[in-house]
Symmetry: C2
Subunit: 462 residues, 2 copies
């Protein structure tokens, strides 16, 4: 499942590029990539990625980078986890009704991969015999950021029990009681057979199952993606798998596991799983810290200096800077909600906008002009388009561009410039083997992104 | 005196544009402008600005903006305040040997302008009768950031005394004692007659006076500036006027004054003189603060959010971000020294580089290319130049450019582009009445600023 947002890791994680796709891990991978690599061994069948339509090109690109082949299923809108689980179970059922399915969130971090493998083999075995198993994490501190599971009295296997109950994120005091009483963190990762899950959905959430079934039946293949039917999927209730099934099924079980798990839900939890220096600091990017301790400082570009502070989070990006106490880091969610309410672009959108053909980023803007850096991947082709209010100058600084202007097609190489008058029909294509980079200077009375008439688009975005 | 640096207000104040020229005040003026406006009334003669050669165009431009006519004297290198005072006194002597001169630092903030006027009239009167008066500030807290003056027993006038001694910046405890004992802050602002100061310099710092005299005698007028003779000025000892004269003269006096004075030496002292909101915060620019108190947050561009912090300083600029505890703010000086030692450009140079003809700012850089935004003031003319390693594309986005390429001169208007091949001799000129703005895309094997051969320059920079 790779469809979430993760606003508490703002300004790095935003709706347009949420935390699971950000290279936050020490090895340079995103949590999504790490998750996919985790299930890419010989023990696993071809994985099914269920993600939001908006993230389809990011997901495909990140999978290509790690050489992972997966089925990418697109949710046309968000309907919480029950609908996603139903879709996954139905697709898995086509392959094998009784085989064990592993359902993983794509935004979790695992410290002990071997321990994870041991736990997975165990729950897979139990899933094959008809259980819906959830991975419970033995808490190492009374976290108020996670839901908890109270194991039941029935021992199913070594470390695995029936489930007494699920509980929501507690306050600190309650969390301490839970730990004393042997509760486990609810990791939100499950194992089940397709037929068991489908059966339980039929019993406890038939509307979810029915919507998912129709959405899968009417799904269309679009480029490399499976696009679920929009109307059918939309008719599903928005409910989590915990509420829909787990809290009600009699087939549930929980395995207590310890494999250094974190959902990296906010900057403080990310800091907790990262390697830190002797002062307890984690410094990433162009960062200097003086008389500073137990702090997380990350810079994407600007030189960032921290002086005389303990327990702070400082995150600087191209267009937004966050400074928070470590303790208040989960409140970033509230901050982002407020920014959204105020209509701030930075709340949900990065300055670098990813597109199927590559990306672009504004580098300057002023009265009647705007400048962008555009990167087109080899083979990438922008839509055939026209603008009503701006002319454009393209200066190629890397690679080769094939530029269509009205009827004419011409190649431009490094240090060559093309001029696109207002109103001309044009298209940009990278016919080469290396990235095409160009600087676009827009001049006109209006330079908004919505002054675009798409005449034709190879990525079906017209 | 407007030659100082002010690294404790980094990253806003840098060597290339120090604090006295930054519009830090609530009315949008720089402290330099506020100082000049303060002495622009009918009571004052044409002011003499003594500044560093590097700041000549900034000073001239800021004076033009406020409509202030002044004599701008350029120090070829830094020689501390005694040499500057000597130069000022010698220039003033030419106008009137006995008239009262007011010597002001250009980086101070005055809260009560009327109170300042009253104090100035008082010290001017005493200066005319042969005293070297210094403005002492009645402390409102035991600051460790200022030097102190102990008034002597002799009362010269209401509020004015002889000087018992000058003392350096004390520790907190000593500062408390000083306050109990009636010491005053040493503001570094003076009043004297030219002949008195020249006489005392002759007695106590003859080398300083002699160097200054030769530097003034051999000075040349260069455009609108008086350029002191480099060799003569360089021969002056580097010493402050306090050490050179004030601690030794028998003519000294101090007036106790209260006019809301601050030297805005560091972010905490700037915060103290600014208007603050109900939470004790001062928020400037695109800033959001949640659960935050007694903090100073300033952003030049990026959306800057602060969550759950008390007593912090957050300053974000285009290329550098500072996050400090309010208490540690004076340590920024140490930080900047370390950055300089590490050879960091950001320590001393802004991203926007001011030139006599306008300014330029890098907006993007990559392998074999660089993009700049260039702004040329009406009438501004860049040097006739040539590059060995880069070609340039200029796209005009505002105003009109007169472009010389080898033998050809051509006009370019908004939305027109010029191409400058490697090695061509070229010049850019703004012949119009409004700013000329253009986007420059440089392409080549080396895009460093030092790949420039200046063939001719109207600003004498060849």
């Amino acid at each position: 499942m790779a469809g979430g947002a993760g606003s508490r890791l703002w300004p790095v994680s935003r709706d347009s590029m949420p935390k699971q796709f950000i290279p936050l891990l020490d090895d340079g991978h995103s949590a999504f990539q790490a998750t996919m690599l985790r299930v890419s061994g010989a023990d696993f069948d071809r994985p099914i990625v269920i993600t939001n339509n908006d993230f389809r090109f990011i997901a495909a690109e990140q999978l290509a980078v790690i050489g992972c082949d997966a089925e990418i299923v697109l949710e046309p809108q968000r309907r919480d986890s029950a609908a996603a689980v139903a879709v996954g179970a139905l697709l898995a059922e086509r392959r094998s009704a009784g085989g064990a399915c592993l359902l993983l969130a794509s935004d979790h971090v695992i410290g002990d991969e071997a321990g994870f493998g041991v736990a997975v083999r165990k729950v897979a075995g139990m899933a094959s015999s008809g259980r819906i198993m959830t991975l419970g994490i033995t808490p190492d501190h009374p976290s108020t950021a996670y839901g908890y599971i109270q194991p039941g009295d029935i021992e199913l296997d070594i470390g695995a029990h029936s489930i007494a109950r699920f509980v929501e994120k507690p306050d600190r005091k309650t969390a301490e009681t839970y730990i004393t009483e042997g509760y486990l963190w609810n990791s939100g990762n499950f194992a089940f057979s397709a037929e068991t899950m489908v059966g339980e959905l039929q019993s406890y959430a038939p509307e979810v199952l029915e919507s998912a079934r129709r959405a899968v039946e009417k799904a269309v293949r679009d480029l490399d993606f499976i696009r679920l039917d929009e109307a059918a999927f939309a008719s599903s209730p928005t409910i989590s798998i915990d509420y829909a099934v787990m809290e009600r099924t009699k087939l549930g079980g929980v395995l207590a596991a310890e494999f250094g798990w974190s959902d990296i839900g906010s900057w403080d939890s990310l800091h907790a799983v990262k390697n830190r220096d002797a002062n307890g600091n984690r410094l990433e990017g162009d960062v200097v810290a003086i008389d500073t301790h137990d702090s997380f400082v990350r810079s994407e570009e600007a030189l960032t200096a921290v002086v005389g502070l303990d327990g702070v989070v400082v995150v600087t990006t191209h267009d937004a800077v966050l400074v928070s106490s470590m303790k208040a880091a989960p409140k970033v969610k509230t901050l982002v909600a407020e920014l959204k309410k105020a209509g701030r672009r930075e709340a949900g959108e990065h300055l670098r906008i990813h597109r199927p053909w590559g990306w672009y980023q504004r580098i300057d803007i002023g009265d009647r002009f705007q400048v962008k850096h555009i990167c087109v991947k080899p083979g990438g082709r922008l839509s055939l388009q026209r603008h009503h209010h701006r002319a454009e100058h393209w200066v190629v600084v890397h690679g080769t561009a094939e530029v269509t202007i009205d009827e004419a097609v011409q190649f431009y190489h490094e240090n060559e410039a093309a001029y696109l008058p207002i109103g001309c029909v044009h298209r940009l294509h990278n016919p080469g083997k290396i990235d095409l980079k160009l600087i676009e200077v827009q001049v006109g009375s209006y330079t908004g992104e919505d002054d675009i008439v798409r005449i034709e688009d190879v990525y079906a975005r017209s």
